[in-house]
Symmetry: C2
Subunit: 251 residues, 2 copies
Amino acid sequence: MLSKNKLKYIQSLRLKKYRQRNNAFIVEGVKMVDELLQVGKLEIECICAIPSWIETYKPQSVLVKETLIPVNEKELKQLSNLKTPNQVLAVVKQADSIINFSSIEKSYNLYLDNIQDPGNLGTILRIADWFGIPNVICSPTCVEVYNPKVIQSSMGAFHRVHCMNEELEKITTSLPNLSILGAVLDATSIYTTNFPKAGLLVIGNESQGISINIKKLITHQISIPRYAKGGAESLNAAVATGIICAHIKSL
Amino acid sequence: MLSKNKLKYIQSLRLKKYRQRNNAFIVEGVKMVDELLQVGKLEIECICAIPSWIETYKPQSVLVKETLIPVNEKELKQLSNLKTPNQVLAVVKQADSIINFSSIEKSYNLYLDNIQDPGNLGTILRIADWFGIPNVICSPTCVEVYNPKVIQSSMGAFHRVHCMNEELEKITTSLPNLSILGAVLDATSIYTTNFPKAGLLVIGNESQGISINIKKLITHQISIPRYAKGGAESLNAAVATGIICAHIKSL
C-alpha cells in the first residue's frame, strides 16, 4: 500500500534538491521500467504499479518483491510527472558517475556546455547511444540528467551512455593532448575538416552557444555549412550534435 | 486598451478550432515579432505590447499604428502561451499554403508523416530553413503548423519555409516521376545511397515511423547507420531529418 509518506517522498523527487538529497530519481512507463528491469544495473528503491502491470510482470516479480507497491490509477496520477501516466513508475538510485579519463582519450565523446532544455539533453543522450559514443560530460551548469524530462526523452539511453558533470578545464588539465572540437558558426566546414581519431566534441548552449571560457580550450572549430538564402540563424543543439556525430562516424 | 472581447478572442487562439475559424495565429516575444515586422509578408491583426516595447519600437510604429494595443504585464501574462511572456505578442493572419508542384519537382523537399510533437515540427522547419529546403509538406494528421509551440520552436523559420498540408498520394499522382525517399530502420545506408538530384524525403511518426499507406509510395528506402552495441532503438525524428538533409546537401 502507498503510504502518505511514500507519496510525499516520491512527489518530492520532482525537485532537483530532493533528488540530490535522496540520491534518487524517477523512471516512468511500461517500456522504460521494462528496460530498467532487464538492464538490471541500477538499484531500484521501489516500483509503484497498477494491478494490470503487476499481473503482466508476475514472472519477473521476484525482482521486485520487496519493493513493489500496488497503486490505483488515481494514486499513480498523483505520483506521475507525465500527462498520461502509463501503468508503472519506479524510484531508482542514482549511479556514481566518475570520469574514466582513459576511456575519454580513446574515442569521440561529447561535452555539453550549459545545455538548458531537458528535451535536448535527453535527445543528445539518444544520439550518443545510437552512435556508440560512450560518455556525455555535462558542464555543472547543464540541466540535471536526472530531471524527469531528460530521463523520459532519453528513451532509455541513460542506461547505456555514461553521463557525468565536470568542468572542461579539469579534463583538459588531465588530458592536455586531447583534441577539443567546438561546433560554432562560420568556422571550417565539417566536410573539409581533417578530424582527429579521437576527441571531445563541445556543444554550446541553445541561445548563447559556447561560453568564452570554454571557447579558449577548443583546438578545432568546426561548422555545419548553411545553405539558406538568409534568415536561418542556427540549428537546434541536439540536431547539430546529431549531424556532426553522424558525419564523424561515417568517416 | 485591451477589451474583454479582445482578450477572450486572443486566448481562444490557443485552440486549433478557433485558429482555423479565425484564420489567425499567435507570434510572441521581442525577437519573433521583430522578425515578423521586418519580413512584412504576413498580415498583422493586432500587436499587444507593454510600454517598454512600444517605446523601443516607436520608429516602426507607423507599421502598427492601427493595430497596436498597449497592455500591462498582467494582461500580457493573461494573453501569453509562454511561461515567461516577453514584452509583445502579435495576432497574425494565416497565409494561404497552396502546393507549387513545379517547385517540388526541382529540389529536395520534406514530407512529414503524422509528426505529433510540436517541438519536432518547429525544429524540422528550422532544419529546412538552414539547408535551404523550400517546402515542408505535412500529412493532414500532423500537428498543426500554427500551434503556438510549433511557431515558437521554429525560431522564425515559418516565415521562410513554405509549409502546407497534403496527402502524399495526391503529390505522387500529380508528379509520378518524383523520387520518394523514406527514412526507415535497416535499409541502405545514406552513405552508400545513390541519391537522385531531387526528391521528397519522408520522415515518419515519432513512435510508429512511416505508415503503411505511405511506405507503398516510397521509391528509395534509406537509413542512418547505427553504431551502438545494442539498445538504441531510434533517433529523434528531427535529429534524423537533420542528419539526412545535411548529408544530401553535402553531396
